[in-house]
């Protein structure tokens, strides 16, 4: 990973964040909190809540990618490695106002972690004891990443492995590359 590319992406992230129209960060944090509470009311098990948050995040991700590509000035990303860097340096900055970093690459280069130690979604949250070991409050983010990458033909699995709300010192999302989709060419029976 060349540091000049890294710093280019950092700059893109900063620029996208700076020029975007803003809304109160508290409005986002409080709305997200209220939304999570609503989902918890509807589902009994924390595990089901985690799954629902991921699914809702996926729905957001598949729409968000367009906005991201348009506003960030990024026109393509050709590899899993590049996309992980772009997510942490550009997307996290643009949408959450924070700089995340990528690390923990495995030897095959198909798994890495996005690490961030501030989380605007979790700003005022303390998990009650019954959820401390079972709920991933910000699981929405995993779905957003999965949905957005799917739209650029990269299939991944994404999950929280560390969460400050659960007592860890930082937040860490592990992304595992599954496959790259080739865009399907329509069948032409005249051939």
């Amino acid at each position: 990973m060349s540091s000049s590319r890294a710093s280019t992406w950092n700059k893109l992230g900063d620029a996208a964040y700076a020029k975007s129209e803003k809304v109160s960060a508290d409005l986002v944090a409080l709305t997200y909190g209220s939304f999570v509470r609503e989902i918890i009311k509807d589902f009994e098990e924390p595990d089901q809540v985690n799954k629902e948050l991921e699914k809702l995040g996926y729905n957001i991700g598949i729409r968000l990618i367009e906005d991201f590509l348009a506003k960030s000035g990024i026109s393509n990303c050709s590899s899993f490695e590049e996309s992980a860097e772009i997510i942490s340096r550009v997307a996290f900055k643009m949408f959450l106002g924070i700089r995340a970093t990528v690390s923990n690459w495995n030897s095959e280069h198909n798994s890495c972690s996005i690490i961030f130690d501030e989380n605007p979604l979790a700003e005022y949250v303390e998990l009650p004891p019954e959820y401390t070991h079972s709920l991933f409050y910000s699981n929405l983010l995993c779905g957003v990443i999965r949905g957005a990458l799917e739209m650029v033909q990269i299939i991944v699995e994404c999950e929280f492995v560390k969460d400050q709300l659960r007592g860890d010192d930082t937040n860490e999302i592990n992304i595992r590359f599954k496959e790259m989709l080739q865009e399907q060419v329509p069948w032409n029976d005249e051939e």
Binding site: L30, R37, V125, E126, L127, P128
Partner: protein, 134 residues
Amino acid sequence: MAITFVIVSPQDQLLYEATFPPVSQTDETAHLREFILFASLDILEQVVWSTRDFYLKAIDRFNDQIIYGLVTASSVRLLLVSDGKSEEAVKNFLQEAYELYVKLALNPFFEPCKPILSTSFHERIQKLGKKYFV
């Protein structure tokens, strides 16, 4: 010289109670202070709607026990009954307790009119009590 601190909802439900220094259940003076606090709730209601200030100063008096109060933006009442602690210490304690309450109340998992069970909240209130009163 002991203090009882309570948090009361706008509907007069007791949400939290702490004593400095911590006392046993059979302590008579603790019961007396609790009684005094509850007896003052009617006056408290009047005071709350007679001033815009959060800090209510001394609301009521019973012999040498004085009840001080602070009401938050969401009408939650932080009350303290003491027998002669400096008002300065009381005011500062209430201000810091108020800040802790706000942080607690912002939590999406917090429900305003339910008893406060958070151990981290309790620990920090105890620390505050030690800081100002013991």
